[in-house]
């Protein structure tokens, strides 16, 4: 049994609110997630008394489960979901509401039940950094004692039952090597983790696949940052999957809250760890501070086209010029290594996309702003055509719409009245002051 399908929802928020209360209350929890009274009441649009009466009745008959922590969080187990759908003549997996995902059920378990069956376990965690050679020795020594993972390049985490014991073994190996080959060792004796293999394969596949897609929508706001460090779309997708798996391994099922909420919270932060992971702390800090310093110098200089020497920038950053040059060299090398012909780090600290695409062949590089601008321009062309009846000009301009292909010769043939109106529609001019007879005269809208 595996079902999570997005289909046409049966109800929008307004049509849902017109259904009877009993149905509304049940529909909300029919996705099998945890609901607090406040959230549940808000979505179902019922009073607390009405909801409490429903809860009391359904807890008593065993259909509703309350959080074992004693908090007022409730959920439907799988059997209750199936029964509720059957009673309401619906198929499990149907999307009832356009603002709530349908029930997530994989391998005969709801998402909540899957997490409850694979609870977090207390483990000892030892973090350390070292060279590959030392790592090989540590790995050999910890065989059968700890499981080691490379968390970031050169940084490792050893998961075991006893952090103190594991740490001693790592320390002993480190002592036999130079400081250049080894770093600091940290340990936590009470970390909590689950392994992705703790779930059944079917459940795990459904869970990761669903949240990979959901994760993509959550990191949209950070995509500009992600694209800088991971330009390849397949790398971006892999990173999102890794974040989802890490979140699954850390999520505390006993908190009686939905996993989606936890994922949304952590995915707001984790993309911003990428600069440190890919550049290291020093270079990442250098890039940020350099951008800030240039922005400050620009603010102080009235000349928009002014450029600044490395001495000026280093001085503004409070750095020694030799240290500055050293980091700048690394920065340039890193930028080149990323084949950065397709992207640049804008000096005002904004991330800037390149102009190396031609039309829609490189659609993935088109930014949100480009799309908004193109929508506005398209709308303005239609409005200008209808206002001036200059349809031929409109068609000519549309024929030039793809990026960077505006042909001055074609643009010169456009009716000037149309161009003036277009400028007006785009807000380039406050008043056209033209009628049909003098539309072409003295326009300055371009």
């Amino acid at each position: 049994m595996s079902m999570t399908k997005l289909s046409n929802p049966l109800y929008t928020r307004s049509t849902f609110n017109k259904q009877d209360k009993e149905f509304r209350i049940g529909a909300v929890v029919s996705d099998g997630m945890w609901y607090s009274i406040t959230k549940w009441r808000k979505v179902a649009k019922v009073t607390e008394e009405e909801l409490n009466e429903w809860i009391e009745r359904n807890v008593a008959n065993g259909r509703l489960v309350q959080s074992e922590t004693g908090s007022k969080s409730y959920r439907f187990p799988l059997e209750s979901i199936k029964k509720w759908y059957e009673e309401n003549d619906l198929e499990v997996g149907d999307q009832i509401l356009d603002f709530v995902f349908p029930a997530r059920i994989w391998d005969y378990q709801t998402e909540t039940e899957g997490f409850l069956s694979a609870p977090l376990r207390k483990i000892g965690l030892v973090s350390f950094s070292c060279s590959r050679k030392v790592y090989a020795e540590v790995k050999e020594a910890l065989k059968g004692i700890a499981r080691i993972r490379e968390d970031e390049p050169g940084k490792y985490k050893a998961y075991s039952l006893n952090a103190a014991y594991t740490k001693r073994i790592v320390e002993n190996i480190f002592k036999a090597h130079t400081e250049a080959e080894t770093g600091k060792i940290y340990s936590r004796s009470m970390a909590k983790r689950r392994e992705i293999v703790d779930f059944s394969p079917l459940f795990r596949d459904g869970l990761v696949s669903f949240y990979r897609d959901f994760g993509k929508s959550l990191v949209k706001g950070s995509m500009d940052t992600i694209k800088i460090y991971l330009p390849d779309p397949s790398d971006q997708e892999s990173q999102i999957i890794l974040w989802v798996i890490t979140a699954i391994e850390k999520f505390d099922e006993s908190a009686s809250v939905p996993f989606s909420g936890y994922l949304a919270t952590v995915l707001k932060r984790w993309p911003y760890d990428l600069p440190n992971i890919h550049l290291g702390n020093d270079l990442s800090k250098f890039q940020r501070n350099k951008s800030k310093a240039i922005a400050e110098l620009r603010n102080l200089n009235p000349d928009e086209n002014a450029t600044f020497s490395n001495f000026e920038i280093a001085d503004k950053m409070g750095m020694d010029i030799e240290e500055y040059n050293n980091l700048e060299e690394k920065n340039v090398a890193w930028t080149k290594s990323r084949q950065a012909t397709s992207l640049t780090w804008d000096e005002n600290s904004d991330e800037k996309m390149s102009e190396n695409f031609s039309g829609n062949l490189a659609r993935e590089t088109v930014t949100e702003n480009d799309i908004i601008l193109a929508t506005r321009l398209s709308q303005a062309i239609i409005d200008a055509a209808l206002s001036t009846n200059q349809y031929e000009s409109a068609f000519s301009l549309i024929s030039q719409m793809d990026s960077h292909e505006l042909n001055p010769e074609v643009i010169a043939t456009l009716d000037r009245g149309f161009v003036a109106e277009l400028g007006y529609q785009l807000g380039l001019k406050t008043d056209t002051n033209n009628d049909d007879n003098n539309a072409g005269d003295d326009t300055d809208s371009e």
């Binding site: 289909s7 829609n360 799309i371 209808l386 349809y391």
Partner: protein, 99 residues
């Protein structure tokens, strides 16, 4: 459909819970406004997770102010009702074949 007299309208839609609704809405709107003169050409998921669909719409066959006016009125309606879904023109297919 004759490519030589068609233009493309691209929609970039956020791939969220409302995706299916948005797709059906666009499809039915275009069907109503441009019956028999429109076709869905491309439907794909972009790298950033957004969804892109491209409709090809035939230009008026008879070149007159009234038919052009009617055509642009319909386009205006389409852009207005779909304004939240980022509709935009790309160039005519007669000038450049689309990828």
């Amino acid at each position: 459909m004759n490519d030589s007299l068609a233009l493309n309208i691209v929609f970039t839609i956020h791939n969220d819970l409302h995706l299916n609704n948005s797709l059906s809405f666009i499809s039915s709107t275009i069907e109503k406004l441009f019956p028999f003169t429109s076709s869905l050409e491309v439907e794909s998921e972009l790298a950033d997770g957004d969804y892109e669909i491209i409709y090809r719409i035939q230009q008026p066959v008879i070149w007159s102010d009234s038919s052009n006016n009617d055509f642009f009125e319909r386009l205006s309606n389409l852009f207005r009702v779909c304004s939240d879904l980022n509709p935009r023109f790309t160039q005519f297919t007669s000038h450049k074949a689309r990828a």
